[in-house]
């Protein structure tokens, strides 16, 4: 499709081009006054062209632009004679501002003398507005970056603080391992001491003075045993006899004891919620833990106030701060009306040897022991406190599936066995083995001693004893493995495990009857009874201890 050729724009004279070009044009004399200006620029500035001629150029610059011209443009023009794209603000006749870009060129005569300058002016209003937005955006970005840097620094500080806490936790863990190890060795030394004292007090014909001496020694040994058991509790290495415990019954029984511990000025309340499940925990250790908490509460209240035991079912879900498997737990909360703790104290409260009490008044082990017990039992201990508002220590314990039996009270008097048993005794520690052997003989049994699992198995090839009493933690073959292999050879053979501590796989479910060392004659007799009772030993399968398929 073709049409008539488009007409050319009308021819322009040089004057028309000068006046109507879409850029401003201005000529300035050497003294800075305007010699000539085109119509485009005059219209932009809202002047008649002749109104500008003769005026100093500074009169069409804003004050800010004048400073910029004198400080930045004039020196360059002076030296180089040319200046491109300078941003300057022009002042219109009505006082308003015209943002412009100005190109400058120096005019010289034939001898190089300055005649003046030629200026080309472009309206840069839109560009300037865009620049302002850009600069504002940059400023916002700068502020955002500064804020980000601040947050980053804060985060780093927090990570640093957390790392410091972690290091502290690791220290405590190491301390725990050390303590556990030392306590265990100490336990092994206590076992023969206690056994010998026990035998001495029963057998030897002692005069009164010597009998008292033995009594004092036995008391000291008992105190040492208690201290060691606390250390083991903190190290979560104690041998726990976890059984179903009826918490309200336990608290009812303990009430007098608690009252004596905290003194007459402390009011005691026990609040029990319905549907409280029985807890699965070592009853004796729990009693000790509760007593420790009571003593702490008493000290926090200055011997005066109210101590409340709350017993309630606790439903723990995902994400609970206790970080336990979801489910229902039995909770025992001990609340005092004492001084409470600030955040810093609270953070360290369950650390071992941390105490706010004066020298000689606390070991700093009470709360850490209670926490160790809770955790080793499969529960948790939580402390809530605010300065001036008292403290609540909550022990969460796993619920027991079985119904608790009333606490058995061993009958005092003759604890000699009703029948003589042949006992195979296995322990790698000669001292401990000798003392346990003496105790077994004391109870009326026949004892065969060996020092290791393999030796015991050798004996068991041809003969079967009535019972095996074995240490657990032996080098080479542990007592648990020995039990499994022995029961494989002689199914149903009773085994009693002795242990200073046992936080070991295969021993945590109470599958084998256990006895914590050191023990008294009575405890040993009771443990033997337990081991011999048919219900007490569901067969330990070889599979469970990693020895292959179980036999029926």
């Amino acid at each position: 499709m073709t049409g008539a050729p488009l007409p050319d724009p009308p021819r322009e004279t040089i004057e028309e081009l000068y006046d109507h070009a879409p850029v401003g044009y201005i000529t300035v004399r050497a003294d800075g006054t305007v010699a000539r200006v085109n119509r485009t620029l005059a219209e932009w500035l809202r002047f008649a062209p002749e109104g500008l001629v003769g005026q100093p150029l500074r009169s069409v610059l804003t004050p800010g632009a004048r400073i910029f011209f004198e400080t930045h443009c004039a020196p360059i023009l002076q030296v180089e004679g040319v200046l491109r794209q300078t941003a300057l603000d022009l002042r219109r006749a009505d006082g308003t501002r015209l943002p412009a870009l100005v190109d400058w060129k120096r005019l010289d005569d034939a001898d190089g003398r300055l005649l003046g300058h030629r200026l080309m002016v472009v309206d840069s209003s839109d560009r300037r507005a865009y620049e302002r937005e850009l600069l504002a955006e940059r400023e916002r970005a700068r502020l955002a970056a500064a804020e980000l840097a601040r947050l980053n620094a804060e985060l780093e500080a927090r990570v640093e603080a957390r790392t410091a806490e972690l290091v502290q936790l690791q220290k405590i863990e190491t301390l725990g391992q050390l303590t556990g190890g030392v306590a265990h060795d100490f336990n092994n030394l206590l076992t023969p001491i206690m056994a010998c004292l026990d035998i001495l007090s029963r057998k030897a014909k002692l005069d009164d003075r010597n009998a008292r001496l033995v009594e004092v020694a036995a008391e000291a040994a008992e105190r040492a045993r208690l201290l060691v058991s606390r250390l083991l509790a903190f190290a979560r290495r104690q041998r726990l006899e976890a059984r179903p415990v009826d918490l309200p019954a336990l608290m009812a029984e303990m009430r007098d004891l608690v009252a004596r511990s905290v003194g007459p000025m402390v009011q005691i309340r026990i609040e029990v919620e319905p549907d409280l499940p029985p807890a699965r925990v070592d009853r004796n250790q729990l009693e000790l833990a509760v007593l420790n908490l009571c003593v702490n509460a008493r000290d926090a209240m200055g011997g005066e106030g109210r101590l409340t035991f709350g017993l309630f079912p606790a439903l723990i879900g995902e994400g609970h701060r206790a970080q336990l498997l979801p489910g229902t737990y039995a909770a025992l909360a001990v609340t005092d009306t004492g001084a409470g703790m600030d955040e810093a104290t609270l953070r360290h409260a369950t650390e071992p040897f941390f105490t706010t009490k004066g020298p000689g008044r606390g070991t700093g082990l009470g709360l850490s022991m209670a926490k160790g017990l809770a955790q080793q039992s499969g529960g948790e201990l939580m402390v809530d406190s605010l300065p001036g508002q008292g403290t609540t220590v909550t022990i969460l314990l796993p619920r027991a599936e079985e119904v608790p039996r009333p606490a058995e009270i061993s009958a005092p008097g003759d604890i000699r066995a009703r029948q003589t048993l042949s006992v195979l005794l296995v322990d790698d520690e000669p001292l401990v083995r000798a003392s346990v052997a003496r105790m077994l003989v004391e109870l009326g049994h026949e004892v065969h001693e060996v020092a290791s699992g393999p030796e015991a198995l050798e004996l068991l090839r041809d003969r079967v004893p009535d019972l095996i009493v074995t240490d657990h933690a032996m080098p080479g073959m542990t007592g648990t493995v020995l039990a499994a292999l022995a029961q494989e050879r002689w199914p149903g053979l009773p085994v009693l495990l002795l242990s200073g501590y046992a936080a070991l796989a295969g021993m945590d479910g109470g599958a084998l009857p256990c006895l914590a060392k050191p023990c008294s004659l009575a405890q040993l007799a009771e443990a033997l009874d337990r081991a011999l009772a048919p219900a007490a030993f569901p067969a330990v399968s070889a599979e469970r201890v990693g020895l292959g398929a179980a036999k029926n």
Partner: protein, 264 residues
């Protein structure tokens, strides 16, 4: 970082009498290229850049220190003591004239004379005092500065500036124009044009020369008279030259005026 490196100090000349040239806002020591060599035969000529300008160490720039003139005054005194200068003739243009006046008031023992080229102790009108500008005018300057420096920031220009094989670039004024960091230029502009040092004028007892040009767009002629009136020991010379930078536009006349002042 030494003072001499920080302020890009350049020393030349065969004479013993020290003459220090200090540039004003928007320039660097190259502004003295047309004048300084004329003093080398009988003076020890010292040129330096203010921190933030020219070849100075930009990393030494500290918004706190340089938010007032004192930061620059301190630097000038440090340069003089680093070179162990005594009986100094301090020639300062515009902002640096104020720097010289303040430095001489602070340490008069170091100075023989202060030459103030196109000076102003206060650019803002205040009552009867006519500095020539209002605070809004200075905000307008900042906007123009921003607009001109956009795209000339140090981040985009170092390729040109850091070329040792083309030293002439660094010697040219456009070089120093480009080498001005926009943020520093903005802060320096506020220091120069919003400060009021009128109260310090009578404290400068050093012999002073005030050089005032015709039709300075920045410093009105009244300011020259004001300074002459309030400086205890001063001479005022109103030059034939025009504009704010007579040391560049009329170096011979400026040199003559300084030499005849020093000869008196």
């Amino acid at each position: 970082m030494g003072v001499l490196r920080r302020n890009n100090v350049k020393v030349s000349g065969d004479g013993t009498r020290p003459i220090v040239f200090a540039h004003g806002f928007g320039c660097d020591y190259n502004a003295w290229n047309a004048m300084a060599p004329g003093f080398e035969r009988d003076h020890r000529v010292v040129l330096f850049d203010h921190v933030g300008a020219g070849g100075s160490d930009l990393s030494a720039y500290d918004s706190g220190k340089y938010s007032i003139f004192d930061g620059y005054v301190n630097d000038a005194l440090e340069v003089m003591t680093a070179l162990d200068l005594r009986d100094v003739v301090f020639v300062g243009h515009s902002a640096a004239a104020t720097i010289g006046m303040l430095a001489a008031g602070m340490a008069p023992g170091l100075f023989a004379a202060v030459v103030m080229v196109s000076p102003s102790p206060c650019f803002i009108d205040d009552g009867d005092y006519r500095g020539g500008f209002s605070r809004e005018d200075i905000e307008g300057l900042i906007e123009v500065l921003d607009s001109n420096f956009l795209g000339w920031s140090r981040a985009t220009a170092p390729a040109i500036m850091g070329t040792p094989d083309r030293p002439e670039l660094g010697e040219r004024l456009t070089g120093s124009f480009c080498r001005t960091d926009p943020d520093i230029a903005r802060e320096f502009a506020r220091v120069v044009f919003l400060s009021d040092h009128r109260a310090d004028v009578p404290r400068c007892r050093t012999r002073s020369l005030v050089l005032q040009t015709q039709a300075d767009m920045i410093a009105p002629v009244e300011v020259g008279h004001y300074l002459h009136l309030h400086l205890p020991d001063s001479e005022l010379v109103v030059m034939e030259a025009t504009g704010h930078c007579p040391h560049m536009s009329a170096p011979e006349e400026t040199t003559r005026a300084i030499r005849s002042f020093l000869a008196r």
